[in-house]
C-alpha cells in the first residue's frame, strides 16, 4: 500500500522534477562547467579552453571583485536590517485600527508591484543632480548639496534607501501574517503575570514569530545579494566603484566584457557565499530553538 502511494507520488512529482532539472539543475551544472574554462568569444582564440581552477585562483586576488563583495555586504546589512525593523514596526501599526488604515496599507504596498527597472528609473529621476526633486529640496530647505554622481556616500545611501522603499512592504506583509496567527493566550497570561511590553516582545512575540522573521530574512538576503536592475539604472555602479555590488560586477563581467568563463566562476562563488550566509543564519537563529524542542 505504502509502496503504491510512493510510486504515485513520484509519478505526480515527475513533471516538476523534469522542469527543475532542465531549467534549474542543468543550467547550474553548465555554469560550473564553464567556470573551469577560459572563454571570451572576442578573444584572439574565441573557443572554450579548459584552464582548471585558474578562474577561482584569480578571484582571490581580484581587487575589483573583493571590493564588490565589501560594498555588497555593507548594502545588505544596512538595507535588510532597516527593512526588518521598519517592516516589524509597520506590521505592528497595521495590527491596530486607525482612520485611513486601508488606504495607507494599499499605498504602502504599491512599491512591491513595481518592476525593479522602473524603481531604478524613478529614483534616478528623483535624484539627478540639479533636476531631481530630492537634491532640489535638500538644497532649498537644508542647504545640503546632494550629488550621486560625485559623492560615494550619497550614491550608496540612495541605493540603500531605494531598496528599503521597494522591499519593506514585503517584510511588513509577511510579519502581519505571522502576528495575526499568534494565539492570544500567552500574551494575556504574560500581562496577568505583570510582564512589561519590552519583556513581552523579547520573550514571547519575537520567539513566536522567529520562523517568519528568519524566512523573510533569507528571502531579502538572497534578493539583496543579487541586486542588479535598480542599481544599474540609478548609478551604473558608480561613482567609481561605490555601488558596484556583486550582481552589477557579474553583469559587467559577463555581458559587456563577454568574459563568460571568469564571470561563471564569480557566479558560482557568490552562490556558495549566499548558501553559507543563509546556513550561518539558520544555525545561529533557528537550530538552537529546534534542538530545544527536540
Amino acid at each position: 500500500m505504502l509502496a503504491r502511494r510512493n510510486t504515485l507520488g513520484w509519478i505526480l512529482l515527475t513533471p516538476t522534477l523534469v522542469i527543475l532539472f532542465f531549467f534549474g539543475v542543468l543550467p547550474f551544472l553548465y555554469v560550473v562547467f564553464v567556470s573551469f574554462h577560459q572563454w571570451n568569444p572576442f578573444a584572439a582564440d574565441p573557443n572554450m579552453i579548459y584552464n582548471a581552477a585558474q578562474n577561482y585562483r584569480r578571484i582571490v586576488f581580484d581587487q575589483a571583485f573583493l571590493n564588490s563583495i565589501g560594498v555588497t555586504i555593507a548594502f545588505v546589512v544596512f538595507a535588510v536590517t532597516s527593512q526588518l525593523i521598519l517592516g516589524y514596526l509597520l506590521a505592528q501599526a497595521f495590527m491596530r485600527d486607525f482612520p485611513g488604515k486601508a488606504i495607507f496599507r494599499t499605498i504602502h504596498t504599491l512599491p512591491l508591484i513595481m518592476a525593479p527597472i522602473i524603481v531604478g528609473s524613478v529614483w534616478k529621476l528623483m535624484t539627478t543632480p540639479s533636476i531631481g526633486i530630492i537634491p532640489h529640496y535638500l538644497d532649498e530647505w537644508f542647504g545640503i548639496t546632494m550629488n550621486i554622481g560625485t559623492s560615494a556616500f550619497a550614491a550608496f545611501m540612495t541605493t540603500v534607501i531605494m531598496d528599503i522603499w521597494h522591499w519593506t512592504p514585503l517584510v511588513t506583509l509577511t510579519l502581519i501574517a505571522a502576528l495575526v496567527s499568534l494565539p492570544p493566550d500567552p500574551f494575556e497570561q504574560a500581562q496577568i503575570d505583570g510582564a512589561g511590553k519590552r519583556q513581552i516582545f523579547w520573550h514571547i512575540t519575537l520567539p513566536m514569530i522567529a520562523p517568519a522573521v528568519v524566512a523573510t530574512l533569507f528571502i531579502r538576503l538572497m534578493d539583496a545579494l543579487r541586486t542588479v536592475d535598480e542599481v544599474w539604472m540609478l548609478t551604473g555602479g558608480g561613482p567609481g566603484s561605490a555601488t558596484r555590488y556583486v550582481g552589477v560586477h557579474i553583469f559587467r563581467e559577463v555581458f559587456p566584457k563577454t568574459n563568460y568563463g571568469y564571470g561563471s566562476a564569480i557566479s558560482v562563488i557568490v552562490l556558495y557565499l549566499t548558501i553559507v550566509a543563509c546556513w550561518l543564519l539558520y544555525v545561529s537563529m533557528l537550530a538552537p530553538r529546534n534542538r530545544k524542542r527536540g
Binding site: P129, G149, G240, S241, P256
Partner: protein, 481 residues
C-alpha cells in the same frame, strides 16, 4: 517639429514617391517579382531605439511589406539590450534575427567572428535579387567601415552616420551685451573656440555669467558619468584625439602597446594634458554632468543650460529643430571641436582625426534563416530614393546624393549648417579603431577611469594604471604577445 509628426509626414511623402515610381513600373515590378519566393516570410530585426531606427520600423518596413508582401518586424530596444540580444543570437546560431544593428565600433568584432553575411558576395551569387538601383558607390565613405579588410566587400548597409560636433548657442554668442562683457573680461572677441585655452576661457566666462545673473547657465557640457561608459567614450573619442592621442593610445602595429614604456600613448603627457583639461571643464559644467551620458548631455543643451559643448550629431538634430523637446531651436551653431596646436595639420596630413564619426549599419547575421529576403529589405533601405525623407525625419546622411536634395538643404539651414560640415569636414573625423576587443578593453579600464572622475585617483596615477590594465587585458585576450 516633433519626430512623430516627421515620421507621419515622411510616410506620406514616401507613399507618394513610391506611387510616382509605380508610374515607370520598373522599380516596383522588381520588388514584387524578386519577393515572390518569399511570400509568408516575416523578417525579424533588432536595433537601438533611435530616431533613424524608428523611421525604419514606422515608415520603411510597412512600405516594403506593401511592395513585396514580406513582413518586417523591427524590435527597437536600449543600446545594451540590443547588443545582448544580437550577440547571444549570433553566438548561439539560433537564427532569431534576420537583421541586426551593427554600430561602427563593434563591426570589427563581428567580422572577426564571421557573424555577418557578405552582402557584396551574396548579391553577386544571387543576381536575381540585386535591385536595379542598388549601387555601393551611392554610399558616403562611412560605408568603408563596414567593408571586410581582406575582400573590401560590404557587410552592412549604413543607416545612420553622425559626427560629434561642437555646438554653441548663437543667441548668447551673438548678444551684443554679452560680447562686450566678454571683450572687457578677456580682451577677445566672443567667437567659437578653435583651441582648448579659448574654449576653457569661454566656458569659465559663461559659468560665471550664469552665477552672477542668477541663471541656470553653465559654460560647457560634460558627458562625465561616473559609472557609465559614456564618459570613457567622451574622453577617448572626442577629447584625447584633439590633443593628438588617437586610437585610445593603443598602438596596434606595435604589439598593441598602451603604455609609453612599451610604445603606446595611453599614459603619455598628451593623454594626461587631455584628461586634466577635460576634468577642469567637467568642474564648471552643470551639476548633472557627473551623472550625464550622451542622452543627458543632449537634454542639458536642449534645456538651455550650457552655452557650448561637444554633442553627438544624432542629438544635434532634434536640439536644433524639435520645439517640443528643445528650448534652443533656432539658436544653435555648429563648429569643429577645439584643437591643440598642430593637430589640424597632422590630421590634414593623414595622421589621426579630430573627433568621432559615429553611426551604424544594418547587417544580416550568418545565422539568419531568411538571408535572401533580408537582402531585399536591406537593398530597399539602401536606395537613394528613400534617403531624403529619412534624413529630414532623423538627421543622418549615409548617401552622397542626399546632400543635394532640396529637403535636406532646407534642413541643413535649420541645423545651423550641420550637413555642410558633415559633407565638407567629415573626413577629419573617424570611427572607432579597428579593434575586435572594443568592449573588453573598455570594461577592463573603465573602473580606473571612473576613479579619476571621482578624484580617488590622480590623472598621472590613473592613466598609468589604465595603460597597464589595458596591456594586461590584451595579453589575457591573446592579442598582445
Amino acid at each position: 517639429m516633433s519626430v512623430a509628426f516627421r515620421l507621419g509626414a515622411s510616410a506620406l511623402a514616401i507613399t507618394m514617391s513610391a506611387t510616382a515610381s509605380f508610374a515607370d513600373g520598373q522599380s516596383d515590378e522588381f520588388w514584387a517579382k524578386a519577393a515572390e519566393p518569399y511570400q509568408g516570410v516575416t523578417l525579424q530585426g533588432v536595433t537601438e531605439s533611435s530616431p533613424p531606427s524608428m523611421f525604419i520600423r514606422e515608415v520603411l518596413a510597412p512600405q516594403f511589406e506593401e511592395l513585396t508582401g514580406i513582413r518586417v518586424d523591427v524590435e527597437t530596444t536600449s543600446w545594451d539590450q540590443m547588443y545582448d540580444k544580437a550577440i547571444k543570437d549570433m553566438e548561439a546560431g539560433t537564427g532569431i534575427y534576420d537583421m541586426v544593428y551593427i554600430e561602427q565600433d563593434i563591426v570589427y568584432a563581428y567580422l572577426a567572428r564571421d557573424f555577418l553575411v557578405d552582402m557584396t558576395g551574396a548579391l553577386e551569387a544571387n543576381a536575381d535579387l540585386k535591385a536595379p538601383n542598388w549601387d555601393e558607390a551611392n554610399f558616403t565613405t562611412f560605408a568603408d567601415y563596414f567593408r571586410g579588410a581582406d575582400d573590401g566587400n560590404l557587410y552592412g548597409v549604413p543607416m545612420e552616420a553622425f559626427i560629434k560636433i561642437y555646438l554653441y548657442r548663437t543667441d548668447l554668442f551673438g548678444d551684443p551685451d554679452i560680447q562686450a562683457a566678454f571683450k572687457e573680461k578677456t580682451g577677445k572677441d566672443l567667437v567659437p573656440a578653435t583651441n582648448h585655452a579659448d574654449y576653457a576661457e569661454i566656458a569659465q566666462f559663461f559659468t560665471d555669467y550664469g552665477q552672477e545673473n542668477d541663471l541656470d547657465l553653465w559654460g560647457t557640457t560634460a558627458q562625465a558619468h561616473t559609472g557609465h561608459p559614456a564618459s570613457w567614450y567622451e574622453y577617448y573619442e572626442s577629447v584625447a584625439p584633439t590633443f593628438g592621442v588617437y586610437n585610445w593610445g593603443i598602438d596596434a602595429d606595435n604589439n598593441y602597446a598602451a603604455s609609453v614604456d612599451n610604445g603606446g600613448q595611453m599614459n603619455s603627457d598628451k593623454a594626461k594634458a587631455a584628461m586634466t583639461w577635460w576634468l577642469s571643464m567637467r568642474d564648471i559644467a552643470p551639476p548633472e554632468s557627473p551623472a550625464s551620458t550622451w542622452t543627458e548631455v543632449g537634454t542639458t543643451f536642449a534645456a538651455g543650460r550650457a552655452a557650448q559643448g561637444l554633442v553627438y550629431g544624432e542629438n544635434a538634430g532634434w536640439i536644433s529643430s524639435d520645439e517640443t523637446k528643445s528650448k534652443v531651436v533656432g539658436n544653435v551653431g555648429v563648429a569643429l571641436p577645439p584643437l591643440a596646436d598642430g593637430i589640424m595639420d597632422e590630421v590634414e596630413g593623414g595622421t589621426g582625426y579630430i573627433g568621432y564619426y559615429d553611426g551604424g549599419a544594418f547587417g544580416i547575421p550568418s545565422s539568419s534563416k531568411n538571408q535572401e529576403a533580408a537582402l531585399l529589405f536591406l537593398q530597399y533601405i539602401g536606395q537613394n530614393e528613400v534617403q531624403p525623407d529619412w534624413a529630414v525625419a532623423a538627421p543622418r546622411v549615409t548617401h552622397t546624393a542626399t546632400y543635394d536634395d532640396p529637403k535636406v538643404q532646407a534642413m541643413n539651414e535649420e541645423l545651423g549648417g550641420y550637413y555642410d560640415m558633415l559633407k565638407d569636414k567629415g573626413y577629419l573625423f573617424a570611427g572607432a579603431p579597428a579593434y575586435p576587443f572594443h568592449a573588453q578593453v573598455r570594461e577592463a579600464t573603465a573602473p580606473i577611469f571612473y576613479q579619476m572622475l571621482t578624484g580617488d585617483l590622480g590623472v598621472d596615477e590613473g592613466l598609468d594604471q589604465m595603460a597597464a590594465k589595458a596591456e594586461e587585458e590584451l595579453t589575457n585576450l591573446g592579442y598582445r604577445k
